[in-house]
């Protein structure tokens, strides 16, 4: 088949003749395919639906057997998520109930009271979500930018020791995080990076760089070099050639890489737990915090996870056109 790539079609192509674009049979296949895809997507998303349902259940509804599909929705999970509470000691309950009846309590207080708790203050969820946004956002940008340039160099230039360097970059992802934690902890303490935004941003950038370089090199390798070379011959500088020719074609790869980097940085748990304590702590450790008091606060965990999922879904949805579009001009291939 390799000669096929070199020689191209044996007859001149005058119009698109891809079968699925013309025959009525393949149009039926096309719509059948859409139905299959939607059915599969629904199937895959069942656990997510259940999570969304759980976010609106009361605690006892979550642990009812058999599982309930019809239930009275409540905002309890969200109250648990956004507030700090303490269980009311039996003696104080009546006092608070009276206050509730006389209308002295707000909506959140009343919901908390219903589950026998009183609100002692706001939870850290919002500040931590903000930290997550800053840290994950900046580190994703950094990994993609650094990764793109490095990948371009590895793809286009004759880098000495290229294979070794690429393998070194990959190997930085291989050491289990568990072992890296303690040396990193000591290092961060010494450098004053412990519990700082910049420390977490750099850490996640470093962690994502290996994936970013490898992926982007894979994508850039696919882009034919002829256009760039032609552009260089025409007097473009290297930077202009990259901006005008490589960058637009690499958008699919850049979008995919950004999505992966963002997802990792957004959800990272172990390092965040060990290397932050307060100012730079992100949301994942605080979701796990809701695990254990007298029992598992399922609805709060579900609400927290859901709220935490939405920003990523929005970003991916905004990037979808880049993720799904084909390479714009593929006529010239190496």
């Amino acid at each position: 088949m390799s000669d096929f790539y070199e020689t191209g079609p044996s007859k001149p192509v005058t119009e698109s003749i891809r079968v699925d674009k013309v025959s009525p049979r393949s149009r039926r296949i096309h719509s059948l395919r859409a139905i299959v895809v939607i059915a599969l997507a629904i199937f895959l998303l069942i656990p997510i639906f259940i999570m969304a349902m759980t976010a609106f259940k009361t605690r006892s509804d979550v642990v009812s057997s058999p599982p309930k599909t019809v239930f009275e929705p409540t905002l309890e999970g969200f109250v648990f998520l956004f507030t700090e509470r303490a269980i009311i000691t039996p003696g104080r309950i009546t006092k608070l109930q009276e206050a509730a009846e006389s209308g002295d309590l707000g909506l959140f207080d009343r919901i908390a009271l219903k589950s026998g708790q009183e609100i002692t203050g706001p939870s850290d969820y919002v500040t931590r979500l903000k930290n997550s946004l800053i840290i994950a956002g900046v580190s994703t940008l950094l990994s993609v930018i650094l990764g793109f340039f490095a990948a371009y160099a590895f793809s286009r230039f004759n880098v000495p020791g290229k294979d070794d360097l690429m393998f070194f970059i990959l190997s930085t992802r291989m050491l289990p995080a568990v072992v890296v934690t303690i040396p990193l902890f000591l290092m961060y303490r010494q450098l004053g990076l412990h519990d700082t935004h910049i420390g977490m941003i750099l850490l996640y950038t470093v962690f994502n760089l290996s994936l970013a370089v490898w992926l982007l090199k894979g994508f850039i390798d696919e882009i034919p070099t002829e256009y760039e070379e032609a552009a260089l011959v025409d007097g473009y500088t290297r930077m202009q050639a990259i901006r005008k020719i490589v960058l637009p074609q690499a958008m699919t790869g850049i979008a995919a890489t950004a999505v992966f980097c963002l997802i990792f940085a957004w959800n990272e748990y172990a390092f965040a737990l060990m290397l932050t304590s307060n100012t730079a702590r992100t949301a994942p450790p605080s979701i796990a915090t809701m695990l254990g008091r007298g029992g598992i606060e399922w609805s709060a965990i579900a609400a927290g996870s859901l709220g935490f999922l939405i920003p990523v879904v929005i970003v991916v949805f905004l990037l979808r056109d880049y993720l799904l579009r084909g390479v714009t001009f593929g006529a010239v291939r190496k």
Binding site: S60, A86, I87, I93, K114, G116, A288
Partner: protein
């Protein structure tokens, strides 16, 4: 291509990095101290004349994320009102509490002034000098005599019997059972039970009765099961659960000379394992194959289990109408039943308050001042009133405390008979063996009890010999 390039780059960068932060290299710190002898900061200011604490307006205490920590925060608020010093209880989830604290200690950190730490950590923290020796402080201020003696031994003393103290017993805790009073007191159930077993249905006095009751209430068709017991593999839950049969059956992990062979695989220990397995097979609520306190409470709240094993500190959620809307008023509590020979016993929970040795002498003094204030009888009464499990002798024995909640009386009974797992620095390795083998036998349904306990004994013996506890 040039394979030669890789290594030089690494080495040069290594040197640069190490030169840039020389102190980041593995810090060997102080000269080594023998593992079995508490090194630590004995020359710390506990004995010295009170340091000047005037510059300190905030104290932070690390604890796990749970209700007692909220209660302690309320105590801390009182301290702030009285002295102007803010007390901050920092709560970390149970799953990462120890990892986080130990990592901080590994770097000699001073983020927290005090920690409410598990009894099992004592060996590690005391021998490695992370806790302040507070023996003289407790003795000189008469605090030692205000607490229930057994709690001071378990939560504060290391090595056991040495008379050296590292913590003020703060939250007493142990395992007991919650049960469904509506089932136990239902006339139909009572009649049916008596007809079947020949004695009246009541709180089980021994483990034979307990098994009868568990089987009696196991009715899969009604979604009801006899028990909810600990089975979690991650850390220590299954081993703690098993201890609740191990100790009453008259066995223990070790004898007085730290011997394990013939002790942890004694016929009593084997019988206790067989009992726990039978209980799991016949009567455990479904889905509780990796269960700890929250899963057990969930099983009680959902009405799945007639009896649930748990630490007393987790029982408040069961009598709270908010968290347990269906059964909060139908909950009763009892101490672990007696074993075949009438012996009682329970796995120890709970924590002592220790001062971190890496903080400045002024902060240490301020921390000790707080403990001194906190240990007063009336403060301990307040602590108990908020919901904490005081270890203060006077409060502990008062009728007021015993009647304050439905579970306090069972708690007070249980605390007379508690025992603990190993607390030596090697406890983690011993725990891994026990967890793996017990989980395979009880949850996985593999092998038999004798082989399981033999393997535990052999491996424990090996670990203890290597560490020099057995000659």
């Amino acid at each position: 291509m040039s394979r030669k390039l890789y290594l030089p780059i690494l080495l040069i960068a290594a040197m640069l990095l190490l030169a840039a932060c020389p102190s980041a290299a593995p810090a060997p710190a102080e000269p080594a101290a023998p593992a079995d002898q508490p090194a630590a900061a004995t020359e710390a200011p506990a004995e010295a004349p009170a340091a000047d604490t005037s510059g300190i307006d905030e104290l932070s205490i690390l604890w796990a994320q749970w209700d007692p920590a909220d209660y302690l925060q309320q105590v801390g608020n009182l301290y702030e009102e009285e002295t102007g010093i803010k007390v901050n209880i920092v709560q970390e989830p149970w799953g990462s509490f120890f990892d986080l604290f130990a990592t901080e200690m590994a770097s000699q950190g001073d983020t927290w002034d005090m920690v409410v730490g598990d009894s099992q950590w004592l060996g590690q923290m005391a021998t490695q000098g992370h806790y302040l020796d507070i023996t003289n402080f407790l003795v000189d201020n008469g605090i030692k005599d205000t607490v229930v003696p057994a709690t001071l031994v378990y939560y504060g003393e290391y090595p056991t019997g040495s008379g050296t103290y590292w913590a003020y017993p703060t939250e007493g805790d142990a395992d007991g059972f919650a049960y469904r009073k509506d089932l136990f007191e239902n006339p139909d159930e009572m009649a049916a039970f008596e007809k079947e077993f020949g004695y009246p249905l009541d709180i089980p006095q021994d483990y034979d009765q307990f098994m009868d009751i568990a089987k009696f209430f196991t009715r899969p068709d009604d979604g009801l099961y006899g028990v909810a017991i600990y089975t979690q593999k991650d850390y220590d839950a299954l081993t703690m659960g098993y201890e609740n049969t191990l100790f009453p059956f008259g066995a223990d992990w070790k004898d007085a000379d730290n011997n394990v062979m013939g002790v942890i695989n004694s016929p009593e220990a084997v019988a206790a394992a067989e009992y726990y397995r039978e209980l799991y097979d016949c009567c455990q609520a479904p889905g509780l194959s990796n269960a700890f306190f929250s899963e057990v409470n969930d099983a009680m709240i959902s009405g799945q289990a007639a009896m649930g094993m748990n630490y007393f500190a987790f029982f408040p959620a069961l009598v709270n109408p908010g968290t347990n809307p269906d059964y909060y008023d139908k909950m009763g509590f009892f101490q672990n039943p007696a074993g075949p020979s009438g012996e009682r016993g329970a796995a120890l929970g709970g924590q002592g308050l220790s001062v971190v040795s890496h903080i400045s002498p002024e902060r240490q003094q301020a921390a000790l001042d707080f403990i001194k204030w906190f240990s007063q009888d009336d403060m301990q009464a307040k602590w108990a009133e908020f919901g904490g499990y005081t270890t203060n002798q006077a409060v502990f024995e008062s009728e007021e405390f015993l009647n304050a909640t439905p579970y306090n009386r069972a708690f007070a009974q249980t605390m007379q008979n508690v025992k603990d797992f190993w607390n030596i620095p090697e406890f983690g390795q011993l725990l891994e063996v026990a967890q793996r083998e017990l989980s395979a036998y009880i949850v996985g349904g593999e092998g038999n009890a004798q082989d399981t306990m033999d393997r535990i004994a052999e491996e424990h013996d090996k670990i203890l010999r290597e560490a020099g506890y057995i000659q």
